[in-house]
Amino acid sequence: MSHHAFREPGDPLELEVDWIVVGSGAGGASAAVALARGGARVAVVEAGAWRDPEHYPSSAYGGARDLMPAFGGLATAGRAQWPVVQGEAVGGTTVINSAICVRTPGDVFVRWAAEHGVGGGPMAERIGAIQDALEVELHASRATGRAVGRSDVLALRGAAALGYDSHPTRRFVEDCAGSGQCLQGCRAGRKQSLNLNFIPETLERGGVVLSCAPVARIVLEGNRAAGVRGRFRHPRTRRAGASFQVRARHGVFVAASAIQSPLLLRRSGIRNRSLGRQFHAHPGTGLFGWYDDPVDMHIGATQGWSSLAHRDTGGFKLESLSIPLELVAGRLKGGGAVLAERLEDFRHLAMWVMAVKAESVGSIHPGPLGPLVRYTLDRADMVKMRTAAVLLAQTHFAAGARWVIPGIHGLPYKIDADALHTIEDAPLDPRAWVAVLSHLFGGCPMGADPARSVCDGEGRVHGHQGLWIADASQIPTNLGVNPQHTIMALARLRAETALSRATP
């Protein structure tokens, strides 16, 4: 049997393979399939359950319960409490993301080289070649037809009227049906989340998958990573099951996410002052436009419009977002009858969001109720957020919105074009804003200097053998673009390097 799901307490599961990959998200699945293609026997060990499209929930409640760690209950512990959104399933966050495909901008490699002594031109070239291949394998294509909803059409119109570049989003999706349900998993199976392709391929090539299997520790023999161990966890009741121990002949890839990878290394006894440091994110928030005619933003791709026009000058990216009705209530001001009346307008709302290329740095620590994410946006980043909010409002008005609903504390519930200045003057206190973190970086940052980084430019943990980082935690800066493509390409690069180094 090559897939082991939850097992009742009893006989432990023991296996030996060439390589272990901890976590099966963007990084883990990409590393696993690359290792398997190279002829190695791989075990993917994943904390979440393996759910296929027929198992996916439809509601936001089901999404939080079935596809997110701790019911989606993680939030930043900083000046403001902003939700930190991640997936927990075979396929990781790719199961619940919008699959937006953006190549790594060239300036990122230049910056890594200048600030961290890694990356540079040679890495840019290799990542570019891998990204070419990934785009073919995962059907990268621009949204067309049903995938471009009315909200997206309005956004295109607004951006064109203001004279900035924007386009239907390019995504890893084959023939999108435009159901706007990506965040709960694509039940139509069109979105190329990695549980549908790289993980099954890893199995077909002789690999093993352990699901419902959170790794408790990496087993170290001296400074060599020799395996992993933990206990199966029931995906519904969370009770512990049988123990498992997997031994690795060559090594262990850690790809448990920017939040979990540093914590796993720490509890495995790895001592490095940079563990949990250099945490970055792209915090995002959105504004609703209110239109005279129904927008019905649930029709079309979840994120069918985007613009990178302001990444370099303003430090943000813009996108449309079909936010589920369940989550709209929390985004509209007011309560009681006032809120009920506002929710009547749902069909007339279009939500557009920004992702801020934030330079603020946070850190990850173990906490009493789970991970503790210390993170607060500094003033400069808040200015970027506010500038993006102003531009989104202007875009809504240019597209014909009658009002904009900013959702910022201290501002009126809705404003017309004449009151745009209220957003320009909006408070810069993060507590006035309702934002989320969904693009996460760092925690095990790469760098040439072992005193300031956890892994080297090839992803190997400093001072250890056979221990590699293959997820977003190795990324030492923000990217300013959606990260899945970069994470997958880096993971494949790590796997290919590891294979070339492994002794037969």
């Binding site: 509601s59 936001a60 409640y61 079935d66 701790a70 403001a80 309560g335 009858a337 009547e344």
Partner: protein
Amino acid sequence: MERAHTIPHRRLDPTAAVVRSAVRAMMPGSSTLPGCGELELDAFVRRLLHEASWPMWLATTASSLAFVLTPPLTVYLPLPSFLLPASLLDRHADRMSGHALYPVRQAAMMVKTVMGMHWGAHPRVREALALPPYPEDPGTWRTH
């Protein structure tokens, strides 16, 4: 493949009662939309409290309790929210969500999030807003 499970029923459940009262007040309905109280709220709350992770359970109950206890900060009456007359309860729900104190606002936001998860997924609400109904969440996964 595993099936979804049944939720145990307890006759007296003060935690569920607190959450229910906060959620119901946050979404009383309008002339065209049903309120949470009309939409099998009891079953939803029991399910949530049973299935939620420990941090989520804590956040839900603490926020609901805050809703019950904060009328002195919003409508300036030393009464728990469930003893307020309807018009004041409504004002409390509205003012709490825009309160100057961040923790109070955050508690209201949490109650609204819970409310939204129930209300926004309900077939009657979805029909009223021209949204397709959700099929039941299977709650299943691959077991081999």
